[in-house]
Amino acid sequence: MYSYSKLIFLFFLTAITISGFAQQPGAKLYELPAENGEQAKITLLCQDKEGYIFCGTTNGLFRFDGIDFYKTEQAADVPKEVTAICEIPNKEIWVGFSNGNIASLKNNKIQLLHFEEGFPKAPIKQIITDDKNIIWIATAGEGVYYYVNNRLYNINMDDGLTDDYIYDIHFVKNLGIVAATDRGINICNLQNSKKIIKTYSSKNGLKDNIVRCLYTTQNDLWIGMQDGGVSSYTYNLKENIAPPVWKYGQVNDVVATSQQVFVATEDNGLVIYDHDGNDNLSSLAQNNLQLKKVSCLLRDREGNVWAAGNNLLMRTSGSNVQAIYHFTKELSEDIHCLLLARDESLWFNTASGLKQLKKEGDVWKEKYYPVPDITDTEISGLYEDINSTIWIGTMGKGIFLLNGNTGKLTALKKDSLLQKGNILSITGKDNTVWIASLEGVIKADITNNNISFTDYTDIKSIGSKYVYHIFTDSKDRVWFATDGKGLTVMQNNQFTDMPRSREDNGSVVYKVAEDMYGNIWYITYDNGLIKYDGQKFTAYTASNGLSDMTITGLAATKDNVLVFHKNSVDVINTGNGHISYLNAEQGIQNINTDLNSYAANTNADVYFIAGNAIFKYHASEHVTFQPSILIDNVQLFLNDINAEQGHSFDHNENNLSFYYTGLFYSQPDKILYQYKLEGYDKDWINTKDRIKNFPKLSPGTYTFRVRVSLSNDFNNAQEAGFAFTIENPFWLKPWFIFFSFFSMGVLLFLIVRQREKRVNKWNKMEREKIQSQLETLRNQINPHFLFNSFNTLVSEIEEHPDRAVNYVEHLSDFYRSIVVHREKDLISLKEELNILEDYFFVQQKRYGRGLQIDIRISAKQALVFSIAPLALQLLIENAIKHNAVSGDAPVHIEIYIDEENYLVVHNNINKKLQPEKSSSMGLQNIQKRYALLSNKHVIIEQTEQYFTVKIPLIQNLL
């Protein structure tokens, strides 16, 4: 039924040996800047736990952030030539120097350490720590030192080392400290402070006794030798991978990945080997560029391998991406499809046929299979079926089958589609082959040597005659990527239209793939990349980190999905969503955009064509690392401060600057930052700057947060933070506010109380005054006084009528004075004396010589002092009242002012036979009034003969 028409074909086989010197793609060179005309040389590389790459140079230690070098500050006595760096578990970094000194890097400054034993005097070649946190120091000339419990100990030839010149040391678990010397390898162990040294040298089979460098991978110890190249040993020192014939001279350093060995040579640049893990080294690549002398290597945590020599630092993609095969520009333009066969050989089309690349030993063996009557645009798809037959799809010429072993080419001629069809892709699984074309879909089933075909060109089943790609997933569902109908899926021969796949997500689907979690991924003409997890469709766009919305290809391997663009391959880790990129930084440009120009295997390798080379992306080597971020420095008013987290700043220390660095050495230009000052900013702010200044921060609690990403998608981004407080000024601190309120309260209370006291006093005084007035009035209206006065008046009228008028005038003056002054608190002493004069005149008329008064007060004094109104009058009245007044025994009253400004009223006592009834109101009243008026008291002195009252006078203020 199906007859194979035998074609007359030309079988033309060429086997060409290609020299393996392929250039490392995307090698990027960085030049260490000269300082004061002094060009430092890089002697070693090291990456610390925070991710910084340190370059030890002949002129100090430099930090490298992927773009620039920063010299580390060092104390004056620290030497310049760095020869070793090691991160000690307590977060400090030890730096060894060529003169044997050892310093520590702490708070961005290098300072010499102090050992009681003194520093070694030979160059420090390497510093490492072991699993017991013992620090081991290799020297070039004094053997190995180890530092434990603050003491330095030495192991040298006296202890059994084969040589005191140590090039390198490494700690290997379950083996010990391995030291590379001029006389083989020494393995040192400490047992109860006894040194146990084992030697492994040429006697044991070492190719070269001068071992210059060591490198440890999970299972292997790699050694680099002076002339013997590189070989690997298992940890029980069985040679694992023997070195090939070595012609590259002195080995300075070695780094190994699971696929490759990178060798730093003194004169031949960076030499790169492939090794397949346990057998022989295979191919060889050498990178000569400008780096002829490579002193040191570093494999960073992203998988990049760095090489440095003289003042140059070179980044290579390590084993992540390799350009495995180069072709001419003309050939690369003809290539439309790439196939990875099960025997790991690569197939691609040329203008007139197929080429097969197969690796044999170090070299790619090339085989050419011409396909007759084919032009350069016609081969569009390749597929290897279960019998290892290569299916060749063409545009307009149907399908050919090629037997790779015999080179026999057969055309499929079952029907017109297979004969003349425009094939877009050929895919399949197990015995089934799916052919997608512009004219519809055909399924081919292979049973032994027979192939049966099923036609799916009926538009009803798949929905479109234009099918770009057919994909059979792990659950044996067949997905059709159609032009116009989106995705269609066939399960158990039942077709399901998936309208939802096109509603929002585009009706033109180019390619379908499945990740290891069973998600279906597909790319569309205008809606980018879609993930279908069986429930919902999720679109990935530029905001999720896709570098470009023009997607040309899709491949899935293990947990990575590779999205191809013209100039970037975006690698999405489907497990954690991280996206990394392969682009010009890795030397990947002008990626072949043809639908079938890339191939993946189950080993997590993806092959694709970019520029003039076939690249191999090795997913398992590629550590999908998020960029890390750290805050390098915090400045206050642009001055460095060594502030710890949670630092408290004064209220006027409010101008802060933060320096931060995102580290992602593979794509330093793609690094984006978002920062947010918690307590100040509401939202995250995007920036490319690496410094942020906040002037004039008000008091409060803040956290400066900054995160880093390679795209605008900052979900799961690494973040660094600095929490700090700006203290309130003291007048805004709670204790001060409390204290202020409290003292204000106390003050208010005191004022109120004072006022209350004054009011009370005033009230009291008022009361006393009234009392005094009442007393005086009562006395003066005392009928006795009036009666006596009138009696006197009568006698005066009779005897001296002229004087009577005078008498009445004094009497009335006296009464007027009482009325005028009674309301006042104080009157002048002069006024009081006037009142007294009137009163005395009235009384003298009555008592005549029996009443004598002697006032010794000057006119000036009378004006200077004040007195409570009627106080003096009251005292005189008392004196008259309580004494017997007669011409024989006169009452003599003296009034004067003593030196303490008391008004003294002093009189002799002539006791009455019948003492006057007294209420004592008068004196008491004066005393009380003065208690209110003055802080001096009224003094009353009484002897047998004299009665004295002293009234404190109040000095007039003016």
Partner: protein
């Protein structure tokens, strides 16, 4: 006394020769009156003592050396009682008569050339019968065919199993500072 010293000296030399395995003896320098002093700065009490009977030998060709001191010769304690404790309780000098340090100079310097050098001596320090490997930094001056040595170092009592009773914990620091000065002359 002098006789005793000579015996010790001879024994010492014999030991030294034996330890170097009857190799061709180099040019030997020696001293019998090196000075060694130590001090313990404990919170409560400063203890110090010294001896000038340090015996030392140095082979200037091979850079090998051996020094030893008889514990009983330490004098200058605060009190006779302290000395007794020192000898009987701590260093048990009846049992361990001597302390010694012997080994080799790390630096490859020419000890016949006059001058001042800073060197590090790597060797076994034996105190209280316990050996500890140590590197001891020393300043040496070579002039007039004499080699003077000056060295400061610390000794941890715990390194040499010297017990400190709790009662005197405040009186005895774990770290003892020692100072050695000696002038070696050709034998």
């Amino acid at each position: 006394m002098l006789f005793q010293k000579k015996i010790i000296c001879c024994a010492c030399l014999l030991f030294f020769l034996l330890s170097t395995g009857f190799q061709q003896p180099g040019i030997l320098y020696h001293t019998v009156n090196g000075k060694i002093s130590f001090r313990s700065e404990a919170p409560l009490e400063l203890i110090r003592a010294s001896s000038d009977q340090l015996i030392g030998l140095l082979d200037i060709n091979k850079r090998n050396f051996s020094f030893k001191i008889s514990i009983r010769t330490f004098e200058g304690f605060n009190s006779p009682m302290q000395k007794e404790h020192f000898n009987e309780n701590y260093l048990e000098s009846d049992k361990y008569h001597e302390a010694s340090f012997s080994g080799k100079i790390i630096e490859d310097i020419d000890l016949t050339k006059e001058g001042s050098y800073s060197i590090r001596a790597k060797g076994m320090l034996t105190i209280h019968g316990v050996q500890q490997e140590r590197i001891i930094k020393s300043e040496i001056t070579i002039s007039d065919n004499k080699i003077s040595i000056m060295s400061n170092f610390t000794v941890l009592l715990s390194d040499h199993n010297i017990p400190i009773p709790k009662v005197v914990y405040q009186k005895l620091a774990n770290e003892i500072k020692a100072e050695v000065t000696a002038t070696l002359e050709p034998r």
